[in-house]
Amino acid sequence: MPDNFLPAGVEYLRILPEIILTVAGTLIMLLEGLAGDSVKTRNGPGYLALFALVAAIPASLVAGANPGFAFSNLLVIDGFATFFRVLVVVVGILTVLVSFQYLRRENASSSEYFGLILFSVTGQCVMASSNELIMMFIGLEISSISSYVLAGYLRDDKRNNEAAIKYFLLGSFATAFFLYGIAWIYGVTGTTNLDQIRYALLSHDVASSSILVGVAASLMLVGLAFKVSAAPFQIWAPDVYQGAPAPISAFLSAGPKAAAFAIFLRLFMTSFQPISGRWAPFVWSSALLTMVVGNFAALTQSNIKRMLAYSSIANAGYVLVAIATHSAIGTAAAMFYLAAYAFMNVGAFAVVTHFSRQGERFVNIDDLAGLGWKQPVTAALFSVFLLSFVGVPLTGGFFGKFYIFKAALDGGYTWLAILGLLNSAVAAYYYLRILVVMYMKEPGESCENLSPLAPGVSLALWGSALATLVLGIFPSVILNFARGSATLGR
C-alpha cells in the first residue's frame, strides 16, 4: 500500500478532460434546476456542452503532453489514450451540433440530453486511458448506461422504446460477459492491472493454467465483440440504430464504438499479447463473418438508418481485420480507420437527421430521390461521405482501408485482405445506390418543403467532410501520430 496516497498535481492534469466534462455535465443539470423551464426550450445546455467539449480537446492535448500513469497506475496517459480521447470528444462535438435542430424539431427537452452526452463522453475518455480492468469496466458502464438512455430519449416514440430496451438488455448481457472475464483473469493472475497481467502471462506458473486464461480471454472477447457489434454478436445493432434518434445513432455508431475498440486494442495488445497466437484465429474469423454479414445484409435494406447500421457492422469487420494481425502496424491502421470512419459515419447520419424531418418520417432510401437537385450542397456533402465509405481515393476511407489491408498483407493474412477487398467491392453497390437515387431520380413529394440546412447541422457536415478529405489527402498527419503511439505494452 502506498504511503503517500495523495495524488500529485500532475495526475489531476492527466485527467483534466474527464474533470471538465463531468463538471460541465453536472452544471447543465444544476442549470435546469435553477432556471427552470426557461432554459428548457433555449439552447443554453447545448452551448455549455459544446463549450465543455471544445475545451476538452486542448485539455486532452495538455494531458497528452504530460504522459505517464495517474492514480496508482489506474490510468495511463500515452499517445494512444490521447488519440482516442480527442476522437471521442470530436464525435461528441459533432453530435451536439447535429442535435440542436433535432431537439427543437422533436420538441424535446435538452438539458438531460446534453448532460447524458457529456457523461457518456467522459466514460469513453476513461475507457481510452484506463490501464486497469476495473477502470475499464466503470468507463464502459458510464458510456453504455448513458447510451441506453439516449437511445430511448424520445420516450413517447415507440421506435425509441424498442431501441432502448433492446440495447439495454443485450448491452447489459455483454457487460456481464466482460465482467465475468475480469473475475476469471483476476482469479488466475491475482491482479487487474494490464501490465501485471501481461507479466503474469509471460511467467511460467500461470502458463500451466492456460485454459483458465483462455476462458477469461474468450469471455472478454465476447463482451467486447458485443460492444463493437462484431458478428456473431451484431444482432442488436440494426434495431438500435434504426430506432434511436438519428443524432444518437450517429453518436452510438462512432463514439462508444471507438472507445470499445480502444479497450479492445489495449487489452489484447498488452495483457493478452503473450497469447496473441491463440486469440488471433477467433478475431479473424469474427472479422470475416462481420464483414460478410454486414455487407450482404446492407444490400437489401430500404431504410437508410438500417442500411447505415449494417454498414457500421461491416466497418467494424475491417477494424477487426487490423486487430487480427496483432501487430503495431495493425493497431495504427485500426486507429486511423476508426478516425476516418467516425467522420464519415457521423456525417452520413447528420444528413439523415436533416432529411428525415419531424418524427423521422422520411428514412427510406427512395425518399432521397432528387435530393441532388433540390439541395445540391447537402447532396454533395453526403456524396463525399458515401464515396469515403466506398473507399474512393482522396477520401479518408480509401487510406483507412488501404492501411488495414496493407497491415493484413504484412501480417501474412493475404487471403483475409483479398476477402476484405471483395467485401468492400460488394459494399460499393449499396453506397452508390444512394448516389444514383439522389442524382438520377425525379424528386418526389419527399423532397417538398425541405427546410435549408440548420447552422449546427451545416457546421457538422462541413467539418466532417473537411476532415474526411484531409484524412484522404494528408493521411500522414494522423497516421504518423497513430504509428508513434501504437506500440502498446512494449
Binding site: M1, P2, F5, P7, I15, E18, T22, T26, M29, D37, A70, F71, S72, L74, L75, E112, G115, L116, F119, S120, T122, G123, V126, I134, M135, I138, G139, E141, I142, I145, S146, Y148, V149, G152, Y153, R155, D156, A164, S208, S209, I211, L212, V215
Partner: protein, 166 residues
C-alpha cells in the same frame, strides 16, 4: 467443520439457483434468489471476506430483493404461462446443454491439478477497515468515478420515467 459448512451451503445455493429457474411464479423465483444470496453471503464469510459477506446480506439479500418483490407485486405478475416451445429449442436444447456442461467440466478438470487449494481462514484482509483503506488510497479514482455512474443512473431514471408536465 469449515468444509462441511461449505458443502451444505454450496448445495443450498445450487439447489436454490435451480429452483429459481424451474419455478413458474415470479414470487417463488424471487424467494429462491434470496436463498442463493444468503448462502453466498455465508460462503464469503467462510473465505474471510467479512465486508463482502455483510454487503451481500444487506444490499443483495435485503435491499435489492425487496425492490424485486415490490416490482413483481406492483406489476401483479401472475404465474408463467408455458408456450409451445420453438423447434430450435426442441432440437438443439439438450445437445447444446450437454456440450456446455461437458465444456465446463473439462475446464474444471484441466485447471484442477494446480495444487493450490483454498484454505479456510487463510485470508484475513477482508474486514471493513482494509476495504476502506484501499478504497481511499489505491482505488480512490474508481471510487470517485463510480459517483458519475450513479449520477447517470439517476438522470436516466428521471428522463425515462418522469411525467410530461407541459
Amino acid at each position: 467443520m469449515d468444509a462441511f459448512l461449505f458443502l451444505v451451503l454450496a448445495a443450498i445455493a445450487v439447489v436454490s439457483a435451480l429452483n429459481l429457474v424451474v419455478q413458474t411464479h415470479p414470487i417463488s423465483s424471487a424467494l429462491s434468489l434470496v436463498g442463493v444470496m444468503g448462502s453466498l453471503a455465508v460462503l464469503y464469510l467462510l473465505l474471510g471476506a467479512e465486508f463482502i459477506a455483510a454487503a451481500q446480506m444487506i444490499v443483495y439479500a435485503g435491499a435489492i430483493m425487496v425492490l424485486f418483490i415490490f416490482v413483481i407485486m406492483l406489476l401483479n405478475a401472475g404465474g408463467e404461462r408455458l408456450t409451445r416451445r420453438s423447434a430450435y429449442v426442441k432440437i438443439f436444447g439438450v445437445p447444446l446443454m450437454a456440450l456446455f456442461l461437458g465444456l465446463v467440466s473439462f475446464v474444471i478438470q484441466a485447471a484442477l491439478p494446480r495444487g493450490e487449494m483454498v484454505v479456510f481462514g487463510a485470508f484475513t484482509h477482508g474486514g471493513p477497515a482494509d476495504i476502506g483503506r484501499s478504497l481511499f488510497t489505491q482505488y480512490l479514482l474508481p471510487f470517485e468515478v463510480v459517483s458519475v455512474l450513479i449520477l447517470i443512473a439517476i438522470l436516466g431514471a428521471i428522463v425515462l420515467a418522469r411525467k410530461e408536465i407541459d
